[in-house]
């Protein structure tokens, strides 16, 4: 995690082969089951896995109206290995003004009979963080307070050349 560059990286060992993890991303009916937390419903309006392909999800609560969730564009698609998308562009590489500007690099690698699943997420700026909150993404919000120590460690290693 590097707060100075607004970048984060996470990693999990999933007990299933890369082909299965890929299906969870690539097939709409599977993707919609995990992308947004219950009980919020998710609809993958665009899940066009090819470079320049649209990526758009909608969400709704309590059977209400569908609202926009994520809108972006896939940049790189290598089945069962790598998936890169950004919210800075929409379908067909068209420039957009996202409410949360990020590029995510998802990688899958076979490990111990399962899949090492890694996500590296680079953010442009933290603007509109509050809007994110309003959109129902409440898991995690306000519960985890960052530790100064982590930033201090990163900063301490960022010495003058």
């Amino acid at each position: 995690m590097n707060a100075l560059q607004a970048e984060l990286a996470i990693s999990r060992l999933i007990k299933a082969p890369p082909a299965a993890v890929w299906r969870a991303w690539a097939e709409r009916e599977h993707f919609e089951r995990w992308w947004i937390p219950h009980p919020i419903e998710c609809r993958a309006v665009k899940l066009d896995l090819r470079p320049g392909g649209g990526f758009e999800t909608h969400m709704r609560e309590d059977g209400g109206e569908w609202r926009p969730h994520v809108e972006g564009c896939f940049l790189a698609v290598e089945p069962e290995e790598r998936l890169v998308f950004t919210t800075m562009l929409s379908e067909g590489w068209r420039p957009s003004e996202p409410w949360l500007a990020l590029t995510a690099v998802i990688t899958l690698a076979a490990e111990d009979g399962g899949t090492r699943y890694s996500a590296r997420v680079m953010h442009k700026t933290p603007e509109d963080a509050r809007k994110h909150d309003e959109m129902g993404f409440e898991e995690g919000w306000g519960t985890a307070i960052g530790q100064l120590g982590e930033v201090a460690r990163i900063l301490a290693s960022a010495r003058a050349p």
């Binding site: 100075l4 607004a6 984060l8 969870a24 089951r33 953010h123 960052g146 100064l148 010495r159």
Partner: protein, 112 residues
Amino acid sequence: MENDSLDKAFHALADPTRRAVIGRLMQGPAAVSQLAGPFGIGLPAFLKHLRVLEESGWIRSEKRGRVRTCHVRPERLLAAERWLTQQRAIWEACTDRLADYVETHLAPEDPA
């Protein structure tokens, strides 16, 4: 308002010299002349970096006699860190849901 200032704060960090200045100040306050030393850039250029850091809330400075001393402002570090921690929690939860889903619905049957 707060979002605005966070935006500015992250912009200030785009420059490696400015990141290094904050890194140095984490170890304790320092005079401007002391700070500028290792960077090998002209003082006017260095002062411009300090101004950006000060305006974006990362550091504050005070002048005593002819010496200007800079201090890091921990509340700014906390705000940036807190925001990223929140983003991280969202991705952690999302990845957990993916792992659960795949392991429950898409994993091949265990031969055992």
